[in-house]
Subunit: 128 residues, 2 copies
């Protein structure tokens, strides 16, 4: 007897994440005080029902960039023999988080308005 599972891919085209990754990460840190990389990927995955999945190849370089830019500071914590690297917002980082968050909200409003004027057809319903 085999158990058969079917998956429907609900993930967004990764294109959309592109302009938004920094906004996402900074605001996650604004809420959680400190987080480590892997934690960030899991958190986003859970909170979006797997729809947004951050790849480590994109995340870690971003975190390093943000640290280099002075938006984050790091702190290493040993868990047994493993070392976690926690990231925390600086003051500048907090400001950036707010700015980017507001910017995204406004942008998505503008975009949705544009898209609405484009097509007046009834909205398709999404699986979820």
């Amino acid at each position: 007897m085999h158990k058969i599972q079917m998956y429907i891919c609900l993930m967004y085209s990764s294109e959309l994440i592109k302009g938004t990754l920094k906004t996402l990460v900074l605001n996650l840190l604004a809420k959680h005080d400190r987080m480590y990389g892997y934690e960030i990927t899991q958190h986003v995955k859970e909170r979006t029902e797997e729809k947004i999945q951050l790849t480590e190849g994109a995340l870690y370089p971003l975190l390093h960039r943000l640290e280099a830019d002075g938006l984050l500071t790091t702190e290493k914590v040993s868990i047994g023999k493993r070392v976690r690297k926690y990231y925390k917002l600086t003051k500048t980082g907090k400001q950036a988080a707010t700015t980017l968050s507001d910017e995204f909200r406004q942008f998505s409003k503008t975009m949705n308005k544009l898209l609405d004027t484009f097509q007046s057809k009834p909205q398709l319903q999404w699986l979820n």
Copy 2:
């Protein structure tokens, strides 16, 4: 006597456009049947009160890619000695427009939800 003008930059950080340009262009064409490149830039600029400004360096290569991918067809029209290049959606292009539009709507909902859980502080008001 000099005329002094002050500008307040209301434009979005161009980061956000990145994942969205294709969605925007295809849906603009879905609404307008046919448009030429320059017209697209002006239309978006006007409809968004200058907040979204498409650069030609991004737009034209995109249009060429979309044509190469079979989402658009072109048609050249002479206006005096100038030649306009009109773009029009193919059937595939129309489908893509709808898909991407729905995807964006859903994505922005998800993102906004995430951002809302991040910070419960009162929203900053935006100029305009």
